[in-house]
């Protein structure tokens, strides 16, 4: 029925099946929008956040999703700046994922603040000392960059391509791709770092406070490294997942292998840096603030197991798996390691947002716990549903995977080298 909108020679499921796939996600989105609407209309008392737990599920979600969406800028950096051509197989998918992640995060942020209508105040009265100003500026700019990068992918749709002015516009836009990739990398470098800096500068929270280089705490750099480490892993994960759901071969195995290798390498660097940083923090920074480090882990349920889990179980182990070629070749290991890497980054963000606030700072404080309310969970699920919906539409109607058509034509043998379909810019190849 919508065959006209789907690219030629790209088999997609029948329209009815597609609608059936969309229905539960649409329902989830509607429920989530209702939950978010409640928070906007009735106020943030609808959540379980409170004066001790000023940040909750949403901030944790924002940080995680932005880290996972780092694949967009990093893949762009690798393809357009470092000229790693193999990864052009996933660049469009990465851009869509990045767009979804960032736009979802910004939407949740608007619900999270007490006065969304004053969001422009940060641009009008910026505070140059605040990491959050930097985050706001960079994320807004980067969202614009992502939108501009998403636009050509949309305009390459089979039907839209037939409008000549769109084609010309898209071609002109694509000439900017290097500028966009460079700008995106630059902006992302800063906001990924600043998100880490948000917690690293908190002198009043010695659990999160870190020393660093000039005005940037070590968490600034750790967040960047962890984001670029997990970005390819997330792309790997999503590509595999989409491939499984759509039952299509979307990319050559070498692409996933390359993504895994990059991720493993960066993850090892991250684990090393994180270990060094943790040791410095335990032995120097935290005691210097008058807070012995062992005391943080004396509060149930956050024992030292969480530190071990973050660095070793979900950090070192997936890094090693991804570095060993024999394991990397097996899809099961590859995907599991990518998943563990993503969970490790999520755990790291959780530790810095939730555990930081749960721990007492005053001598007569108590350890406080927090569980998100259904309105908060609903809003979070709305973002997930929104992401799935946008990606589903993009996957169906746009050509996200340039290698798909070639893989469709080639036989199942994976060892055979296949003529790679060049990345098309309109009718002009790269």
């Amino acid at each position: 029925m919508d065959r006209q909108l789907i690219a030629r020679r790209l088999p997609r499921c029948p329209a009815r099946q597609f609608v059936l796939w969309l229905l539960p996600w649409t329902a989830l989105l509607a429920f989530g929008l209702y939950a978010a609407g409640l928070c906007l209309v009735k106020g943030l008392n609808q959540t379980n956040m409170d004066n001790r737990f000023a940040f909750g599920l949403w901030i944790f979600l924002d940080l995680t999703v932005i880290a996972l969406g780092a694949g967009a800028f990093f893949t762009g950096f690798l393809v357009y700046i470092l000229k790693l051509k193999e990864l052009s197989a996933v660049i469009y998918s990465a851009v869509v994922i990045g767009f979804v992640c960032y736009s979802g995060a910004v939407a949740v942020l608007l619900v999270d603040v007490g006065q969304p209508l004053r969001a422009w105040f940060t641009f009008w009265y910026p505070n140059v000392h605040s990491m959050l100003t930097e985050v706001t500026f960079c994320i807004t700019c980067y969202l614009t960059v992502l939108f501009i990068e998403y636009l050509p992918i949309i305009l390459k749709n089979r039907k839209l391509r037939q409008v000549p002015s769109f084609l010309v516009f898209e071609f002109q836009l694509h000439k900017l791709i290097y500028v966009l990739a460079g700008a995106g990398t630059f902006l992302s470098f800063f906001h990924q770092g600043s998100l880490g800096g948000l917690y690293g500068v908190l002198r009043g929270r010695p659990f999160a406070f870190r020393e660093g280089f000039a005005i940037w705490p070590s968490t600034f750099f750790l967040f960047i490294i962890s984001a670029v480490a997990v970005g390819p892993a997330f792309i790997l994960l999503t590509t595999w997942l989409v491939s499984k759901i759509s039952q299509r071969r979307l990319v050559k195995p070498q692409v996933l292998d390359l993504l895994g290798r990059i991720s493993g390498l960066l993850l090892s660097v991250y684990v090393l840096a994180k270990t060094v940083d943790t040791l410095i923090w335990i032995n120097r920074t935290s005691p210097g603030s008058g807070f012995p480090a062992w005391q943080y882990y004396s509060w149930n349920p956050f024992g030292t197991w969480i530190l071990f889990a973050e660095i070793v179980v979900f950090g070192l182990i997936p890094a090693l798996i991804l570095l060993i070629p024999r394991l990397r070749r097996r899809t099961g290991w590859l995907v599991s390691a990518a998943l563990m890497a993503c969970l490790g980054v999520a755990l790291n963000r959780f530790v810095l947002t939730v555990q930081t606030l749960a721990l007492p700072t005053l001598g007569f404080d108590q350890f406080v716990s927090y569980r998100p309310s259904w309105q908060e969970t609903g809003t979070f699920l709305a973002v997930v549903a929104y992401g799935v919906l946008v990606y589903s539409f993009s996957f169906r109607y746009l050509q996200l995977f340039p290698q798909e058509r070639a893989l469709e034509a080639a036989p199942a043998a994976e060892a055979e080298p296949v003529e790679e379909e060049p990345v098309l810019v309109g009718r002009y190849s790269l």
Partner: protein, 247 residues
């Protein structure tokens, strides 16, 4: 140039709570709606009961009022606000919060180690007719903004106006007292200019047994606490991993 601060004698505080109520009356803080517990309430000054962990007649308790410490050095909340809605007033040293500019991102609340900042989770609602009793000198805040103690800054302005009306540049020190200081029946909370060596808080700060909360963090708070009981002085430092408090 003044640097207003307080000295709080913990041995004198009886936990009567008059300071908490006087603060709420002066600053038009609304009563708690249904469902607001002690974690969502707004208490610019809050009195905690701490004890020494023993049982029976060996159990000793003390009451500790905690309010915004008006940090003087690398004030945590000032540097983190993305909208510059928090400012240290150079004339008085008071850390002022502008609810009109506050976006409600609550980053300052995460930054404050003293938990002295409060968010308006609800719109303020007073029972019908009770709005007539609001203090005309202070504007009520709407939901979604952060607020905190500002040493009743409006009273400083009023004292300045009175001084100006009498052609004086400096205010009369006795003319400016925050509501909590005025209400304390035992005189546990004393207020004055820390730059004036003869003022009560400045003298108390120099006494033995005087301490500040979380001094090692380096925030240079302007609230000096005092107690002759050694176990009370322990509360000024980091948590020990054992729960010993209520309030």
């Amino acid at each position: 140039m003044t640097r207003y601060g307080m000295s709080i004698d913990i041995d004198r505080c009886t936990g009567c709570g008059a300071c908490m109520v006087a603060c709420a009356v002066e600053n038009n803080i609304p009563p708690a709606p249904e469902g607001a517990g002690d974690r969502k309430g707004i208490t610019w000054i809050r009195v905690f009961q701490v004890n020494n962990g023993e049982d029976g007649s060996n159990r000793k308790s003390a009451f500790v009022p905690v309010l915004c410490q008006q940090c003087g050095h690398e004030t945590p909340c000032v540097s983190v606000c993305p909208q510059q809605a928090v400012r240290v007033d150079p004339q008085t040293g008071i850390v002022g919060q502008m609810p009109e500019r506050c976006l409600g991102c609550r980053y300052c609340m995460a930054a404050c180690p003293y938990h002295a900042r409060y968010f308006n989770w609800w719109d303020p609602v007073w029972p019908p007719g009770m709005e007539k009793t609001l203090n005309p000198a202070v504007a009520p805040r709407m939901r979604g903004v952060v607020e905190k103690c500002n040493f009743c800054h409006g009273r400083w302005h009023a004292a300045k106006e009175r001084a100006a009306a009498q052609n004086r540049r400096e205010i009369d020190p006795g003319d400016y007292l925050p509501a909590c200081v005025e209400a304390c029946p035992t005189g546990a909370i004393r207020f004055g200019d820390l730059n004036d060596r003869a003022s009560v808080p400045a003298r108390d700060a120099r006494q033995d047994g005087s301490f500040r909360l979380l001094e090692k963090l380096g925030t240079d708070p302007k609230i000096h606490y005092h107690s002759r009981q050694g176990w009370v002085r322990q509360i000024a430092s980091a948590p020990s991993g054992k729960e010993k408090a209520r309030g």
